[in-house]
């Protein structure tokens, strides 16, 4: 109770609320620009925090993170371009809804779910930091390997019509992930003497290419429909019936987001894909997924906003940043002479309470700022196709160029776009490729790290209880999806209700 009062005092007595609102507004803007990741949005603000009072500085950075994780979903829904890595899963159903003229509703669902996710994540952060910190500590290289495999197992259910094509796309993604410096020996691999490839190919380049550029190419080849936009420039929040339907995917998203956020290095992208997959598995209207399901937006968007809060657990309790964004936050703390770690909670109680209060305000203001900003975005994407295409190209390419001021990166995006266009022609699903790119490095480096630890003995994976648990779940996932496929293909002449709709 004292802490709540103290938080209230801080709120009224310091520019805390201002920092929270400014952070969210800037974060949404940065997150919505493809290429400007949450961590870059935060890094851009870092110099401005030097002169600020420490708590406001930290709140400003933390709120930017929250805003950016949400902002990524705006271009994902409206123009098929994930603004951040973690918004990649939102593309699937969000853009499908937008194409059906329900973009306003999709944006409303993602904002509503983002705020819920953020609040649940904050609650977890405040109540459960200590137990959750132990969870982070329990993850060995073996567990990380198993976690990556679990992520890849999602391919089995998201592969679309042909499992073979899905696997091929997944392997393609894994191949891209091998480019760069070898994680164990430090030898450059598949870099062909290009300095730009030494640090590997950033997943965001591949995502933007595969999703956005290939979509623009496809549209360029389609005849111009006289697009009567049924959607007015208004966002629509879910009504009571829909809200009830979204509870389940949101709970799934929040639980997965809590766990993944706490584990350093796992982060929002895996969380959103896993929760998308789980929401689909447990949904009553599974066939709607991929065709504009509200649940398919709610689950990943709840998950990645939960992560934005719970990712602070390892940072605050060990001083170990679990993601690039958390690393920037660590920089912000250090600049102000605050050393995150086990003693922060005892020695800088003010700062911690201030941070919690600030994040609460940030989540609330997300709702307000989102409601203000979204109509403008909706208006923008309802212009004529020629204008829109030019605008999107300019947005994507300038965003990507900004990351490293590198034309090479722009080339990678365009190449990935061409590859994505070909994959669409051959009916190859794009998602497995994205999963491969995102998870390849995690799986490979931790597999090899484990084997270095055990001198090449694979039994080490069986000695780690978390790894065994996750691997079993992965095997069950794969067996389950394959079983369903076989059953649908051979077991019945008439497909089930769900299968019937998907084959229609």
């Amino acid at each position: 109770m004292d802490a709540v009062l103290q938080g209230f005092d801080l709120l009224l007595g310091t520019p805390l609320a201002f920092a929270a609102i400014a952070g969210v507004a800037w974060g949404i803007f940065g997150g919505a620009l493809p290429g400007i990741s949450p961590s870059i949005s935060m890094a851009l603000l870092l110099p401005f925090t030097y002169g600020m009072e420490p708590t406001s500085a930290i709140v400003l950075l933390g709120s930017t993170y929250i805003g950016a994780e949400y902002g990524g979903s705006i271009p994902a829904i409206l123009i098929n371009t994930p603004g951040t890595n973690a918004a990649a899963a939102t593309v699937l159903d969000g853009y499908a809804m937008q194409r059906q003229g329900m973009g306003g509703q999709a944006l409303g669902i993602s904002l509503y779910s983002g705020v819920i996710g953020g609040m649940i994540g904050l609650l977890m952060l405040v109540m459960l930091t200590r137990p959750l910190a132990n969870l982070a500590l329990a993850f060995t290289p073996m567990s990380y390997f198993a976690l990556g495999v679990l992520g890849l197992s999602v391919i089995a259910s998201l592969a679309g019509a042909s499992i073979l094509k899905g696997l091929a796309a997944g392997v393609l993604g894994l191949m891209v992930a091998t480019v760069g410096t070898d994680p164990m020996s430090g030898v450059p691999r598949f870099t062909f003497g290009q300095v730009e490839l030494l640090e590997g190919i950033a997943p965001i380049l591949i995502m933007v290419g595969l999703f956005a550029v290939s979509e623009l190419l496809r549209q360029a080849g389609a005849p111009v429909r006289t697009e009567t936009s049924r959607d007015t420039a208004r966002i629509r929040f879910p009504g009571r019936k829909l809200r009830r339907r979204l509870v389940k995917p949101q709970l799934i998203g929040a639980s997965i987001g809590t766990v993944e956020g706490v584990i350093p290095g796992a982060g929002g992208t895996i969380a959103s894909f896993l929760s998308y997959n789980e929401a689909r598995r447990w949904s009553r209207s599974r066939a709607e997924f991929g065709r504009g399901s509200p649940e398919g937006i709610a689950a990943p968007e709840t998950a990645n906003n939960t992560v934005a809060s719970t990712a602070l657990v390892p940072l605050l309790s060990f001083g170990i940043p679990g993601s690039n964004s958390a690393a920037i936050l660590l920089g912000g703390l250090l600049i102000h002479g605050l050393l995150p770690g086990p003693r922060l909670f005892e020695e800088n109680t003010d700062t911690v309470i201030g941070l919690y209060t600030g994040l609460f305000v940030a989540n609330l203001s997300l709702l307000a700022i989102g409601t203000l900003v979204l109509p403008i975005c909706l208006w923008l994407v309802n212009r004529s196709r020629a204008l829109l295409t030019a605008f999107i190209y300019a947005l994507i390419l300038s965003g990507i160029y900004t990351i490293n001021a590198s034309l090479f990166d722009v080339g990678i995006v365009l190449t990935a776009g061409a590859a994505g266009y070909l994959m669409r022609l051959f009916d190859m699903p794009l998602l497995p490729a994205v999963l491969g790119v995102v998870l390849g490095f995690l799986v490979e480096s931790n597999y090899r790290r484990s084997l270095v630890l055990s001198a090449g003995d694979h039994a080490i994976f069986l000695e780690d209880p978390i790894a065994v648990g996750l691997l079993i779940v992965a095997v069950l996932f794969i067996a389950g999806s394959l079983g369903t496929r076989l059953w649908l293909a051979f077991g019945r002449n008439r497909p089930t209700a769900a299968g019937g709709r998907s084959s229609a």
Binding site: A43, T140, P321, V452
Partner: protein, 333 residues
């Protein structure tokens, strides 16, 4: 968020412009507040750009910002800090090597610019830059978890000799890994040397008992040391550190392994003599400053001033030692 994590900070960002603008504003303010310093000989430039491949908030960024704040009144120069990310420093090296050699552009030199040059042979290497002056040594320490089985460095080495040790380093081509490989050879221990994606991963794996010992920079362990969750076993320096008098050196234990992480400045080739002389004077003076001394000793940095005449052969020796190590471990031909 699955970009590869390299501790402490790894953002693929080139945000030099903005940071620089805000940074120099802050620096102006600092200069205004600073007390009257002895009248310096005028430096040939009003604005000097310091380039780093580190991201904002990263090790070299913090080093440059604090150094610039201290040097500003002394040299009468406005410093701009620019981040040129990518290629493990290769792009930053290229940027500096092609800058005018008039004392307006410098590069924060750490072992990683030598390592990148050797590992990936980019078009521009450390050989295309002129060493100017060294400022600090960063200390590499051996640590273990406080509730673990090892009380002393000898116990950890002994365990690895009789059984099989699990040792961790931050990244594959790092100075830390080099230190462990040399320690392994010197002690004849059997140890798996596991590299990570950064110091954070490594600390977690030492804390959770996956690894027996880890090697890292003292300052990134500070919060764990304060909370008594990690214990320092040894330091890879020539002699014991003033800040850590109870921690023995590896050398004391009878293994001749000394590893030095330098932090200095390099510039474009062919810098005029008066420019390097001005830097030598300034760095020597700033390291004596009591304010700065209290800041850098808190970060566990040891002052290690080296003028150009010493820094040049030092880097050359470091490079040949590193190349020999990389060849011996089969990383390069």
């Amino acid at each position: 968020m699955l970009e590869r994590l390299k501790f402490p900070f790894s953002v693929a960002a080139n945000i030099g412009g903005r940071c620089a603008a805000a940074g120099s504003l802050a620096l102006l303010a600092a200069a205004a507040l600073a007390q009257d310093a002895p009248e310096p000989a005028p430096y040939p430039h009003d604005v000097v750009t310091l380039i780093t491949h580190s991201s904002p908030g990263g090790g070299s960024d913090v080093f440059l910002r604090e150094l610039a704040r201290q040097l500003e009144p002394l040299m009468g120069v406005n410093f701009v800090i620019e981040h040129v990310r990518g290629g493990g420093g290769a792009r930053a090296m290229a940027r500096v090597a092609n800058a005018p050699a008039d004392g307006s552009v410098f590069y924060a030199a750490t072992p990683s610019f030598v390592l990148t040059s050797l590992l990936s042979s980019p078009a521009t290497t450390f050989r295309d830059l002129d060493p100017v002056v060294n400022v600090f040594f960063d200390q590499e320490v051996v640590y273990t978890r406080s509730d673990g089985p090892f009380e002393t460095f000898e116990q950890a080495i002994e365990a690895a000799r009789s059984g099989r040790g699990r040792w961790g380093a931050a990244s594959p081509g790092s100075l830390e890994r080099q230190a462990l490989e040399r320690l392994k050879t010197a002690t004849g221990a059997q140890a798996a040397i596991v590299s990570h994606e950064g110091g954070g991963d490594l600390i977690l794996n030492v804390l959770n008992g996956t690894l027996d010992i880890g090697v890292g920079e003292a300052q990134e362990l500070r919060s764990q040391l304060d909370a008594d969750r990690l214990r320092l076993l040894a330091v890879f320096s020539e002699s014991r550190l003033p800040g850590l008098p109870s921690v023995p050196t590896v050398k004391e234990s009878g293994y001749d392994v000394v590893v030095t992480k330098f932090r200095g400045l390099s510039g474009p080739p062919g810098l005029p003599r008066e420019v390097t002389a001005a830097w030598e004077r300034a760095i020597r003076a700033v390291l004596e400053d009591p304010d700065y001394r209290s800041i850098y000793s808190r970060e566990m940095l040891s002052p290690a001033f080296m003028p150009r005449a010493e820094f040049e052969p030092f880097i050359a020796a470091f490079a040949s030692e590193t190349a020999a190590f990389l060849r011996a471990t089969g990383v390069i031909d």
